[in-house]
Amino acid sequence: MQYIPNILFLIILALGIGYFTLNIKKLIRNIKLGKAVDATDNKGERWRNMARIALGQSKMVKRPIAGFLHIVVYVGFIIINIEVLEIIIDGLFGTHRVGLKVLPESVYGFLIGSFEILAVLVLVSVVIFWLRRNVIKLKRFLSSEMSGWPKNDGNIILYFEVVLMCLFLIMNATDTTFQNLGHGNVVSQFIAPWFGDNPDTLHIIERTAWWLHIVGILIFLNYLYYSKHLHILLAFPNTYFGSVTPKGKFNNLEAVTKEVKLMMDPNADPFAAAPEGAEDEVPAKFGASDVMDLNQIQLLNAYTCTECGRCTSACPANLTGKKLSPRKIMMDTRDRLEEVGKNIDANGGEFKDDGKQLLGDYITNEELWACTTCNACVEECPVSINPLSIILDMRRYLVMEQSAAPMELNNMMTNIENNGAPWPYNQMDRLNWAKED
């Protein structure tokens, strides 16, 4: 009988971690639906970017208030989780505060004391975050794509934090032996009197808070996959794989290079058989109309997006009331990717055409054509996401596969083709400016 709590604990822990692993596997499979990209270059710079942007949060502090609060919650979250290690050992082996057995009392007290202070700081930050979202109503949390789930998601996580932090403090406050130590109970000593001094009641409250705390953490872990809070984990790989070239450099499509070279080579025989090895090349589709046409980094970007809206609040198109919102581009990409993933699960590992795609069903032409390719969204994103690259790939599909550019752009392109200038002037007049006055 005495092992029942340990066994129960083991089962809960296994379920929690097992389900999480399953979802992470699904996530990796979904990302691999995208085209492979080679990101083995510039290793040093990539590690530096990860350390600076994800770990060091260098981009968060560009907005000082949000940045500061975010760092508090982030540091609090990571450090307080050290406590989880103790909980797991206690749970599995039926010990109590195993830390006290291995660490000197003063060190243990110092650790728990700092956790308690952090817990209070996190609580304060979370309250301010909640006020910003729900009372002050910052503009960037109010766009149309932020209704329904994305809005609730933002709040749920805040409630989660509150509950977890309170449980942590209650757990300490009702632990009589810990309180008697007089070490590390810097905050909980003031809460302790609220719970009276009946040892039985205290013990029950302490146990309940302890169990709820660990179960809460496991639920939180599994909640991540369904939430923008996945960025807690994905910010790291995402900043590693983020671009290391100047933002203005757009990739040159290799498939196009081959064709253009063939077209421009006067000696090429257009009817010649395809060179050897060419057969197994998938027929190229130019640009992207669905998530499978995007590359793996773009799909990782979609899962990493925290929906903070910093990109959208800097987008000149969005600022002037146009339909484009780079945040929506990322959210649409994730939603469609999830839809495709579910389709694959439902059809025994294979994607069955569902008559839908990212272009049209999620993202409209109007949004795509509003982009000025100014890179403001890329600059703003605190986790190195590049919404612009998806916009460009979808424009490429519109233009090269569907010839669906706006009329004026078609005229402009015809002019370039015919006279080497976007306007209908003769190339022979290119130097006239020097002679005119």
């Binding site: 100047p246 002037t320 290119r430």
Partner: protein, 260 residues
């Protein structure tokens, strides 16, 4: 600027068996757009003043393909790029200077993987170089005490992290440089990029260039300085929309320097 400018071509240099120090890439706007032509001329004036041996491609230059690429037409872009690269390589061009940040970005970043490797410089960077090496000296105090605000072009600033060169050059004019609220990496686009210059904007509640002009007007400037022919057009239109064309002029840095 009524005197005729001497603008030698690469072909002429070649005929004399000489190589110029730089190739001036004029760009489509700089060649055909009435406003931008003035910028090309101002820059040529600076080149003459600093005794730079330069040449243009003239009739052999073609559009870089930059707009086609941003519009999504990778085919057209690569055709333009390869044609230009062929000519540039045939003339063994090493150093290219241009007044157009879009050409600058495109040739600098996107031509190399298609076989075009050059040292590409924006005209503000080149002017900075001329001044610091002492080849160009500014005499007049034309702009002393004037309030000037500089609008960062996206393709020089955010796209290539060049924020200082234009500012360093402007400081040489003894003007008061006043920054807009959104500047450097947070600068707002003028609204012309990504092929927007060539089409009607999507429906919204205002035009981007008007919003950007409002940013500029907040600094109460005498002059809005630009470093891109498209920005220049957009800001000029914005100033007109705000009916301020009587008080505020929109000038490229090349023009400001040519006059000082």
């Amino acid at each position: 600027m009524s005197e005729e400018l001497k603008v030698p071509t690469m072909a002429e240099f070649m005929a004399e068996g000489k190589q110029p120090e730089i190739l001036f890439w004029v760009g489509s706007a700089g060649s055909y757009d009435d406003r931008a032509k003035k910028i090309s001329k101002a820059f040529v004036k600076i080149l003459h003043k600093a005794n730079v041996a330069f040449a243009v491609l003239g009739e052999e230059e073609s559009n870089t393909g930059d707009v086609a690429k941003r519009a999504g037409n990778e085919f057209l872009f690569q055709m333009q790029a390869m044609m230009n690269i062929e000519i540039l390589n045939a003339y063994e061009v090493k150093r290219i200077v241009t007044c157009d940040p879009h050409s600058y970005n495109c040739i600098k970043n996107e031509y190399p993987s298609l076989g075009g490797n050059y040292d590409v410089v924006h005209h503000t960077q080149f002017i900075k170089e001329l001044i610091s090496s002492g080849r160009l000296t500014l005499e007049g105090n034309t702009y002393k005490g004037k309030r000037i605000t500089f609008h960062d072009p996206c393709y020089l600033g955010r796209a290539n992290s060049e924020y200082d060169a234009p500012r360093d050059v402007l400081k040489q004019t003894n003007a008061n440089l006043i920054e807009m609220k959104r500047h450097k990496s947070t600068a707002l686009c003028c609204g012309a990029g990504g092929a927007q210059m060539f089409k009607e904007p999507e429906k919204g509640n205002m035009d981007i260039n008007v919003l950007r002009t409002e940013d500029a007007l907040e600094t109460k400037p005498d002059i809005i300085a630009t470093g891109c022919p498209y920005c220049n057009t957009m800001m000029t239109d914005g100033v007109k929309a705000k009916e301020k064309e009587g008080e505020i002029s929109v000038l490229d840095i090349a023009e400001l320097i040519a006059n000082s």
